[in-house]
Amino acid sequence: MGAPAPARRIASTASGAQRRRDTLVGILLVLPAILLALGFKIVPLIRGIYASFFVSQFGETGHWAGLANYLRMLGDPKVLEAFLNAGKVVLTLPAWVILPLFVALLIFQRTPGWRLFRAVYFLPYTIAPVIVGQVFRELLHAQGPLNELLRKIGLGFLALSWLGDKRVALFSLVGVVLWSYFGLGVVTYLAGLGTIPDELFDAAALDGAGFLTRMFRIVIPIILPVMGYWTILCTSGLLVWMFPFIFAMTEGGPGYATMLPEYLVYITAFRFSELGYGTTIGVALFVFVLIFATFQVRYMYVSGTRRQKA
C-alpha cells in the first residue's frame, strides 16, 4: 500500500526540489576545484601543447611551424640522451618502492625508539631540495668528506668522483633524491600499516604465523593499494622531483650524464630562449610520464574493482 496519489506527488515534488538544491550545492562545492584545475592544469596544458607547434624566441609570438619542433626533437641526440637517462632513473623504481616499505615495517614493529626513527627518516623530506643538493655537492666532491672517510678506512678504491664521473653521476644523483624523499615513503606506508586491525595480528599469532608469513599474508595484501599509490607517485615524481637537485648539484653534467628531460626543457626554454622547442620536449615528457602512470592507475583501478567484488 503506497501513499494516496496527491500525497505521492507532493512528496515527489518535494524530493525533486531537494535533489535540485543538493545538486546545486554539490556543484558550488566542487566549482572552486574545477576552476582551479581548469585554470592551473588544463588550460596551461592545452596552451603548452599549442605552443609546441610554434618556433619562438623569448618574448616573441613566434610563427607556426607545424610538426617541425617534433621532427627536430626526434633527431636531437640531447633529447635522446635525456630520455635514456630518464629510462635509467625509472629502472631504480624498485628501490624507491621497497626500501621505504622495509623501513616502515621495521618501525611498525614498535621497537623501542620507533617514534624517534619515524621523525628521523622524515626529516630530510622537510629540507628544501636546493639545500640538500648544495650539501651533497660538497659531501660527494672528489676531495669531499665521503671520499676522505673512505680513504681513511682503507676503502680508497671506492673513492669515486661521485658527481663528476659520468659512469656514476646519475646514480649518485638518484641516491641523493631517494635520501630526500625516502621519509615521505616511510610515512605513507606507516599510514597504510596503521589501518590494519590488531585482531588480525593476534589471530595470526595464535595460528603460529611467523614474521614473514604475517608480512606476506596479512600486511602486503592489505597495503597493496598504498604501494600502488606510492609507486605511481614515485614514477611520475622520479622525473619531476629531480629538477632542483640537478640544478643545485650537476646542471645536467658532466656532459649530459645527468641531463633529464625536465632540465633540458628548462635550459632550452630559458637559457637558449627557444620557448617553442622547449615546450615540445615538455610535451614529450608529459606523454612519457602519462604512459607509465596510465598503466599503473589502470592496474590500481582493476585491482580495486576486483577487491570490491570479492
Partner: protein, 437 residues
Amino acid sequence: MATARSKTWVLAAVLLIALVASLTAGGQKEPGAVTIKLLGWQPGGAEAWNKVAGLFMERNPGIKIEMETVPMEGFYPKQGAYITGKSGPDIMGNNCGFETWERKDGYTDIRALKTPKAVGHLLDTTSNHLAYDKNKPAYGISFSYQGNVWYYNKKILRSAGLDPAKPPVAWQDFDRAAKAIKAAGKAPIATGVGHTIAYWIFPEVAKNYWQSEQQITDFAMGKVRWSDPPLAETLKSMARMSELGWFQEGAATINMQPDGFDFFLREEAAFTPSIISDAFHWKAAGDAIGHENVGAMLPPSINLNSPFARKFSGVPGSSWGITPWSKHPEQAWAFVTFFCSAELANLWLQMGGMQPNTTQFDASINAHAPAFLQIQEIIKNPMVHTGVLNSGREVDELSRGYQEVMQGQLSVDEWIKRLNRALDESPLKKPDNPIWK
C-alpha cells in the same frame, strides 16, 4: 537536517568569498611614490648597491628602488620567466654581446630614452648595440669595464723558487713553472668548469689563433665553424692544458663560481683565470690573501707572434636595460644612468672593486693593491672579447664538453661535432640573420 543544509550553504559561501578575495587581493601602494624594481645579481656587492640606491632615493624622494637580487646561477630562470610572461621588474641586468642580443625582447631600445650628457659616452661605447653596430638598437649600458686576467699568488710562486716579478709569459715557461709549483705541493691553476669556461678560458686560448679582426667578426656571424683551424686549435689547446696537469684534481667536477676561485683563495693553487670587475677579482683575492701577495697578468701565450696573443680581452661589464613592460621607463632610466654615471665611479671602485667604464676615476684609491695597478696597464691594449660572441648553446656545449674532455671521456673531435651542432642551432649566428644587415 535544516541546520546541516544551512551549514553547507555557509561553507559554500565562505569558500566562494575566499576564492574571490584571494584572486583580487593586491598590495598596498604608497600614494604618490613610483616604485622601480630591479632584477640583478649585484655585481660589486650588496653594500655598494644599497649605498647607491640610498643616494638615488635621497635625491629623488618620489622614486623608491626595490632590488630583487639572485645569484648569477639563478639569474636566468628568473629573467627568463619574466621575459616569457612579459611582466616583472623595470630594470634587468645582463652581460654584453650574445647574452643580451638573444634576450633582446626583454629590453627596450634605450636610444628612445632621454640620456643625460654625463653618461652619453656610455651609449657610444656600449657593446649592447645589436651586432655591435651603433646605428642599431641598444639594450642597456654598463657601469663597469670587464675582461680577463690571471691572478697569481706571489707566496706560492716564491715557495716554488719562481720570481713573482716575472710571471710566465709563454706556454713553455708556464709548463716549467707548473712543474715547480706541483713539486712544491700546490696546484698550478685553480679552476672549475661552468659557463665561465666560455668567457674566461676560451677567449684567452683562442686569441693565439685569430689572424685578423675580420676573422673575429666572421666568428660572431657564424661563418667560422668549430672545425675550422682557429677554433679547432683552440679546443685542442684547452684539452692540452688539462693533459699537462695544470688544473687541480677534480676541477672538472666543480664550478668556477665560487668553488674554483675559493680553491685559489685557500692558497692551494698558484694561478687562477678570472675577471677584473664584478666579483672574483683582484679585490676579492687581495682581501682574502693580502693585496701584497696578489699579482695580475695576461695568460701565458701559446703563440707570441699572434697579432692578438698579448692583448687584453675587454668588454663593457654587466649592462642594465629597461624592460618594455615597465610603466615608468623614464624613472627607471634615471636610476640606471645615475648608477652608471662617472660621479659614482670612485664609489663602485672603492666599495666593489669595479673597474669603471670611464676614465674619470681616481686610481690612487686602490694604490695599495699591486694587482689593481697591474690591471690598469694590462687594459691599455684591448681587443674584442670573443667569449661574449658565443651563443647560449655554444657556451653550454663548451662547458659540458670540457667537463668530459678533462676527464678523458670525450675526444676533441667529438667536442667539435657537438659545438658545430650548437652553432647550427644558434639562430643569431647566421650570416643572413637580419641583425647583421
